[in-house]
């Protein structure tokens, strides 16, 4: 081995702790990129293959009752490749051993064979026999959560009649990768599932013989989705069509897409932050490491090594650290993406989910990681090789200290001389102090930006489940009723308070922009379901006009005072121009809101109710649920109090893991910066610090000079990190918001405090680790060393 290469290996071994600190920071950046992009690649490739193989439809529509003959007309629409009509209904189930009612979406299977679109995948057992009306298949997650297997039976209310159904098999479907009951946002596999039933049996149960109420289409390549939707809407309008939607309006697809968009945003926003921070660190640390090699660089020049050869030597050294960091980051990132994929497998029902390594992420992260170290090294080497060999072999000129305002400050504050040493050292090398300060600030900012997502989630949950929806239960009615139904609801066991709810599908359009949403009616004194203004306070419903969530208003490009075209997709199926009266805040989902009186005046009907919001006394729970299960008018139940409990538990569980993971990242960066800064300080000032010991200063007093400077810089870095962190949080919020979830930009005091605490403590520990080396310095030999 060449002598220079031997030097390289031994040097790397000598500075292993510092190299490791740099490599770890670099590894963080690389790992986040590999993690986010790898998970996204896995999800999208798996989804695309699944969609393709099981023929996931492109357009979905429902109606009240459309004659079977309409199928041919739909098939003739230009651009339609395949049509699948079916019956789809929301039903209430009475599960053994479960007090509360469960819900399911029942979809029919064709009279013969498997459907041509949204083909379910049999995971266990078989499809139901079309000739046996009591046979059904269940979605696998629901069956698992309720411990149901092929051959087991359960009870469901179909078309107002309680029926005993037998399970023949467990299925998965590309249509129900993410399964949630309408109105909620979190999957609850125990209380909501999918039931597949033969077409004839379903038609008989819901009185839909010779008719369908749901249709899915697959389009030819290059067909216009909008044109097909418009044509389909025209065909279905007379039969109670409520507006066809493309894949982006299909619940499971929209959620999955939202999740993948978020991952893509994470892959775009976070890794550059980490990589920039690590490039920065590597730059600083390598720069200083190389600066310490000043005499050896001078020697190599003196004995005739060319500038290029010396530069290459140090580039190889940095590349060694860089390659180490990249490999570590790859390994950890890929491992984490496996864990993350496993986590997704809990929420998303894929037939298989195998982590796919993302070549792009590996290549880009390696290129960026190596570039970070090499740029850092190049700058430092360039500075060193510019010196003439004679100059380089001399120790650097002693620094010029000048008396200035700091001294007057010191005198005024009566600072001890050791404190003055700290102050002067910072002021004498402001650039170096700034690098340490910014490095520490970067750790604080990464933590603030990471913890911010919990703050945002807190606000989202609080708004959606505590401020907006304050009811215990929402009873969803099979069809709209008069307001007298409220009296019936009040008579249910244990019910204390009832409130009318009404929602109807509408298409909002402003110029070329349009969106399909539900329009919800609110009474003037509604307490259970409220609408929040942009500062999070409940708003009083204006007598006229629409309230729109800010994200929806931005999407449609309308401001308060402007007119919006509102097309009712349910009777009376009219179109009105209605002004937007205010913009509101809605983190989960998007709905337009309007005063009940104004809405029904517009619809020219007496006020109606299609959902009832209820609070109840917990003692009568079992009786209430029993009545709900046997009331045919109720087609669905949303159990808000259960949802709240479940959500809070789930978040607390996840919170702990996530806080741990992010803290590790923040600690790594801080240690990377502080440990290296302190080590370099120590080696540069060993002589000075040993002199202090000779003069009779105690170890603690000398240690104070070393640790004090680092801690002064760390404390100064905290507020800078808060500001940077807020900016990163703003970037992240923008990236994480999807159509279904809008992430508010709120950073809590707790987040600022936790970030500061983690960073200050890890800085202190790192500085103290270096201080221990100070104790081991041999005073005599340190003094003998040439200056």
């Amino acid at each position: 081995m060449r002598a220079l290469d031997a030097k390289l290996l031994r040097d790397l071994r000598r500075i292993w702790a510092q190299s490791l600190a740099i490599a770890l920071v670099l590894a963080c950046g690389v790992a986040v990129l590999v993690l986010a992009h790898g998970t996204q690649t896995t999800l999208s490739q798996t989804r695309d293959a699944y969609y393709e193989r099981n023929r996931f439809a492109d357009v979905f529509a429902s109606a009240t009752r459309a004659p079977e003959q309409l199928t041919e007309e739909i098939a003739r629409i230009d651009g339609v490749a395949q049509v699948q009509t079916r019956i789809s209904k929301q039903v209430i189930l009475d599960m053994e051993g479960m007090v509360e009612p469960a819900m399911a979406r029942l979809v029919s299977l064709p009279v013969a064979g498997a459907p041509v679109l949204n083909v379910p995948l049999v995971r266990a057992g078989r499809l139901p026999d079309p000739l046996r009306p009591d046979e059904v298949a269940l979605s696998a997650p629901f069956a698992r959560a309720n411990d149901l297997r092929a051959g087991d039976s359960f009870r469901a209310i179909l078309g107002g009649r309680m029926r005993e159904l037998t399970v023949t098999g467990l299925l998965l479907s590309p249509e129900f990768i993410y399964t949630i009951s309408p109105g909620t946002m979190i999957p609850d596999d125990r209380r909501f599932g999918i039931i597949w039933m033969g077409r004839a049996a379903a038609a008989a149960a819901f009185d839909l013989e010779g008719a369908f109420n749901d249709v899915a289409l697959r389009l030819t390549r290059g067909a216009s989705v909008d044109a097909v939707i418009a044509a389909l809407d025209d065909l279905l309008a007379p039969y109670g069509g409520t507006g066809a939607q493309g894949r982006d309006g299909q619940m499971s697809h929209a959620f999955l897409q939202g999740e993948m968009d978020q991952l893509a945003a994470i892959a775009v926003v976070l890794p550059p932050i980490f990589l920039i921070v690590s490039a920065f660190l590597v730059n600083m640390v390598l720069g200083r490491l190389i600066a310490q090699e000043r005499a050896q660089i001078g020697l190599m020049k003196a004995v005739g090594y060319r500038t290029g050869e010396i530069g290459w030597h140090y580039l190889k050294m940095s590349a060694g650290i860089g390659v180490g960091g990249v490999l570590l980051g790859w390994g950890v990132g890929f491992w984490l993406s496996g864990l993350m994929t496993g986590l997704y497998a809990q929420y998303f029902s894929f037939p298989y989910l195998v982590p796919v390594p993302s070549t792009w992420a590996f290549a880009v992260s390696a290129a960026m990681g190596l570039a970070a170290v090499l740029v850092g090294a190049l700058r430092a080497v360039a500075r060193m090789v510019r010196l003439s060999p004679a100059e380089a072999m001399q120790p650097p000129a002693p620094p010029h200290f000048r008396r200035g305002w700091a001294d007057r400050l010191g005198e005024t504050l009566r600072l001890r001389q050791t404190s003055m040493m700290i102050l002067r050292s910072i002021l004498r090398w402001p650039g170096r102090a700034a690098v340490t300060l910014l490095g520490v600030a970067a750790s604080v900012s990464v933590l603030v930006a990471s913890f911010f997502s919990f703050d945002a989630m807190d606000v989202v949950i609080d708004e959606a489940f505590f401020q907006t929806n304050r009811q215990d239960v929402t009873l969803v009615l099979a069809s709209a009723r008069g307001t007298d139904v409220l009296q019936d609801a009040l008579a249910l066991p244990g019910v204390m308070q009832v409130e009318a709810g009404f929602s109807t599908p509408v298409r909002l359009s402003a110029g070329p922009r349009e969106d399909l949403v539900s329009l919800e009616a609110h009474g003037p004194g509604d307490q259970l379901v409220r609408v929040l203004d942009q500062s999070g306070r409940a708003v009083a419903m204006p007598p006229q006009g629409l309230l729109l969530p800010d994200t929806l208003a931005a999407e449609l490009g309308v401001r308060p005072g402007e007119l919006l075209q509102v097309e009712f997709l349910a009777p009376p199926r009219e179109t009105h121009m209605i002004p937007v009266s205010a913009v509101t805040r809605q983190s989960l989902g998007q709905a337009a809101h309007m005063s009940r009186a104004a809405l029904f005046e517009l619809m020219r009907v007496a006020p109606q109710v299609n959902r009832i919001n209820v609070t109840f006394d917990g003692h009568a729970l079992a009786d209430l649920y029993a009545r709900v299960k046997e009331t045919p008018a109720i087609s669905g139940v949303l159990l808000w109090s259960d949802l709240r409990r479940q959500l809070t538990a789930q978040i607390e569980q996840n919170l702990l893991t996530m806080v741990f993971a992010y803290s590790v990242l923040g600690i790594l960066i801080t240690v990377g910066v502080v440990y290296n800064a302190a080590r370099i300080q120590l080696s540069e000032r060993a002589h000075e610090l040993a002199s202090l010991r000779v003069l009779g200063f105690s170890r603690a007093e000398v240690g104070f000079v070393l640790v004090g400077e680092i801690m002064v810089l760390t404390l100064a870095a905290v507020p800078v990190g808060w500001v940077l962190g807020y900016a990163f949080a703003a970037l992240t919020a923008g990236g994480l918001s999807t159509e279904l979830v809008s992430i508010p930009l709120v950073v809590s005091v707790r987040t600022y405090a936790t970030a500061a605490l983690i960073v200050v403590v890890s800085a202190l520990v790192s500085a103290l680790m270096v201080r221990r080396r100070l104790d081991r310095i041999d005073i005599v030999s340190a003094l003998k060393q040439k200056e």
């Binding site: 060449r2 002598a3 220079l4 031997a6 030097k7 031994r10 040097d11 000598r14 005499a295 050896q296 001078g298 020697l299 190599m300 020049k301 003196a302 004995v303 005739g304 090594y305 060319r306 500038t307 050869e309 003439s388 060999p389 004679a390 100059e391 072999m393 040439k786």
Partner: protein, 241 residues
């Protein structure tokens, strides 16, 4: 061997060398117009007080530094006209350095420190041979920290001579050593000069050391104060410190 300006060709010729460090009030004139010649195979001692410009002169001769004004010729080449790249090549091919503080690479063994130079030299000795010449055959695989000051300086000399340089420039090679070790180091330098015929220039501020030289050049305040010829140099062992 006892070559002098009468018998030899000059290896180095310096004309009007000036070196100014810093500027304005902090300006320091290290050299103020030095004229000087060094001859093939001779052994020269540069004497002078601290700050007299000895090290600056030696650094300029060795192409470690460039003068502010004046010319330096090595044989027929004018060093002061060469590019940085050509100066590097000049050092690599012609000059061996020995420094007061040895300047060994701490992470390399004695053998590897010498190999550092032999790997880039044109017709070097083997590192083992160079180390044998300085009496360190038994310390080949020791790291600098495992050796005494005298041993480290001998490694530095081995490193300097291993490339068979035309000139050996030594800046206070005994400055950090006790007298006994210092004598050993001087003996090695003298034997290299005599056996290999390497022109050797040696800085010292120890007056006694001048007795080992063929010529002694006295520097004071950045100028050559006087040049003494010594027709009967004595072996280092007889120099009393």
């Amino acid at each position: 061997m006892s070559q002098t300006e009468d018998s030899g060709k000059p290896v180095y010729r310096a004309v009007g060398l000036t070196k100014v460090y810093g500027s304005g009030a902090a300006e320091v004139h290290a050299l103020r117009g030095v004229d000087l010649e060094l001859f093939e195979g001779e052994r020269v001692v540069l004497l002078g007080a601290s700050g007299s410009g000895k090290s600056t002169l030696l650094n300029i001769l060795g192409a470690l530094d460039t003068p502010t004004a004046g010319q330096v010729f090595f044989r027929d080449r004018e060093l002061t006209k060469l590019s940085d790249r050509a100066l590097t090549a000049f050092r690599r091919d012609h000059v061996g350095f020995v420094f007061q503080f040895y300047n060994l690479v701490p992470s390399l063994t004695a053998r590897e420190n010498v190999a550092l130079v032999t790997e880039i030299a044109r017709a070097p000795m083997r590192p083992e041979e160079a180390l044998e010449r300085v009496g360190l055959s038994a310390r080949l695989d020791h790291f600098p920290a495992q050796m005494s000051g005298g041993e480290q300086q001998r490694v530095a000399i081995a490193r300097a001579i291993a490339k068979r340089p035309d000139v050996l420039l030594c800046d206070e090679p005994t400055g950090a050593l006790d007298s006994k070790t210092g004598v050993q180091v001087l003996e090695v330098l003298v034997s290299v000069n005599e056996d290999l015929g390497t022109t050797t220039a040696l800085i010292t501020h120890n007056m006694a050391t001048r007795k080992i030289a063929h010529r002694v050049i006295h520097l004071a305040d950045g100028l050559v104060a006087k040049v003494e010829r010594n027709d009967a140099p004595v072996p280092p062992a007889q120099v009393s410190w």
